[in-house]
Subunit: 368 residues, 2 copies
Amino acid sequence: MSKVAIVGTGQTKFSKDDDNIEKLLFESASNCLQSTNNLDLNNIDGVLVSTNNNSKYLGAILSETMGIQPKISHSIEHLCSSGTNAIISAYAYISSGLSDMVLVSGVESATNPGQVLEWDKSRGILEHPIYWGSMLTKSHKRKFQTTEEELAIVSAKNHKQAIDNPFAYSNEPRTISEVMNSKQITDDLRILDCSRSCSGSSSILLASEEKAKTLSDQPIWITGIGQKTTSASFTKNILEEIESTRIAVNSAYKMAKIEPKNIDVVEVHDAFSVCELMAVSELGITSNEKSGEFIRNLFNTENRMVNPRGGLIGAGHPLGATGISQTIEITNQLQGKANKRQISNATTGLIHNMSAAGTSSSIMVLKN
Amino acid sequence: MSKVAIVGTGQTKFSKDDDNIEKLLFESASNCLQSTNNLDLNNIDGVLVSTNNNSKYLGAILSETMGIQPKISHSIEHLCSSGTNAIISAYAYISSGLSDMVLVSGVESATNPGQVLEWDKSRGILEHPIYWGSMLTKSHKRKFQTTEEELAIVSAKNHKQAIDNPFAYSNEPRTISEVMNSKQITDDLRILDCSRSCSGSSSILLASEEKAKTLSDQPIWITGIGQKTTSASFTKNILEEIESTRIAVNSAYKMAKIEPKNIDVVEVHDAFSVCELMAVSELGITSNEKSGEFIRNLFNTENRMVNPRGGLIGAGHPLGATGISQTIEITNQLQGKANKRQISNATTGLIHNMSAAGTSSSIMVLKN
């Protein structure tokens, strides 16, 4: 079985414009292919598109617009973690020998579907994500004595970090006080606690070990993978836990033969502020009880270890592109190419993505 | 790398009812899991749904309704070949070691999207599949002197064969004369030359070699895979060829180490009568010039080698389920469980599926 490397990356600016998705796909895919050395398009034998958009056969459309005639092409959808799942699927194609080089492109428009989950009747009328975000927040405050200020620090930190991300939706600094005084939308959530749906696309090129060496001076290797779906219904969740993340990350750590202490930089799925606190806990980096203090320390010391590109709250959340942009950030960090966002001496990074109120999680560990 | 086997299959009746897709998925998946021996649901670590339906996170929904908590879950879309692509994706997960056992369930409702391809402006106002079906038919008649009777025999044969398929949309015999006198819908197509969109679901369980032995007395092995996307635009096609099929099948033959003469039974994508003639030619079973005569001989001798379950014309075409039902038919044939449809002594079978006027093709070779 071949090792699998990331050999190219490309993104579009995330924005509130309701852009044409084919145009966005083309832009990020073009940027991605231009980031490689000596690429022959004839060697790309897979094109996967991750999206919640209702358009059909986007894999073939992207292939044609890029001048690629792949073996494998199709679209993958799994709400917020579509992009991570598509990368893991591409890993499987390469590792199994069915493919040598796969382009994975995620895309969403600001008006994307996939936020309101009509199937989950257990949510009652509360089908918009803000309601589960609110319930998780209330629960975290109650069980772990998490303060409103600690929650606001997550957002302030991520907005601050997004300023140095040229592709981010938001480039405005937001103070703790601004977050705490922003518009209240439920008892426990303010508008600046929430990630924003937006338009955007990101692309990544994966290759087998043999191909990787010619395409990149600094291939980044996928060394750990873990995934778990515990349910589809929100009300099957235990409110203080993201069980799917805990199970998935344990698989990923085992496959990568690492422990939480080995992680230098991490992208976590902060759909809402509370999700970042819960995620760093489930990843074993800290505990729920200490998570508020942990993030406060990062903020105070300007340590960008968690969500260096600004997370979903700062960078925006174009569903199908999010997991790919998270992976690009860790790739850049491990290549030492993250500019002002750079974590020094990062050699091991982790991507955490999840769907549907954390009922599914997908994890990858990357190494340089 | 593990070998990959088919260890369970299940279907629903294909019909014109606009059934709830979650209900259809549940029915075919239940039938599939009940077809195995000693199955522990905890061992299913992948659930893939193939569909053109716009519903989101169906992989998680199917998992929850079935009582499965997989690692991997998501949906795959690539128009008519969604199902085959999902099976090949599952193969990659198992072969790469990321998964041991994957449930692949395809579903469509009679009102499914995915027929009208708005992106392909090269079709002008002729965006419905009947127009490319009509152009391919005219072209085949002109270049290969294919007669209207030869085209009608494809439909008559497939309708006849569908009578013995309990899951088929149509169970009515249609004579050659009935086909030739059915409603004319373009210069070169009559209504009985066309496959019908319908509701239906089919499911298949794939497992690694180690797991397969405990789950089935007759595991069927996937020994060859080939895929190709040449374009997304119909007008990039050469009208007398399905280039994507020819390229894909050559890959599959090479991987399976077989030649066309080794194929005992084949499922081909007869979206329209002419597609069956073109497919058996591109697969190397006959030539375009002789394809009409070849199918006539099968019909006259009641040889069910091509599309024994009735093809898309006889069995119906619920897009996301079609490739899975094709694979189930070849599985049943190689297990000697195809009842009245059985080809004697079948040991090697092939599935041919394609999308978007043949601009993409996916092929699998199965062995018992």
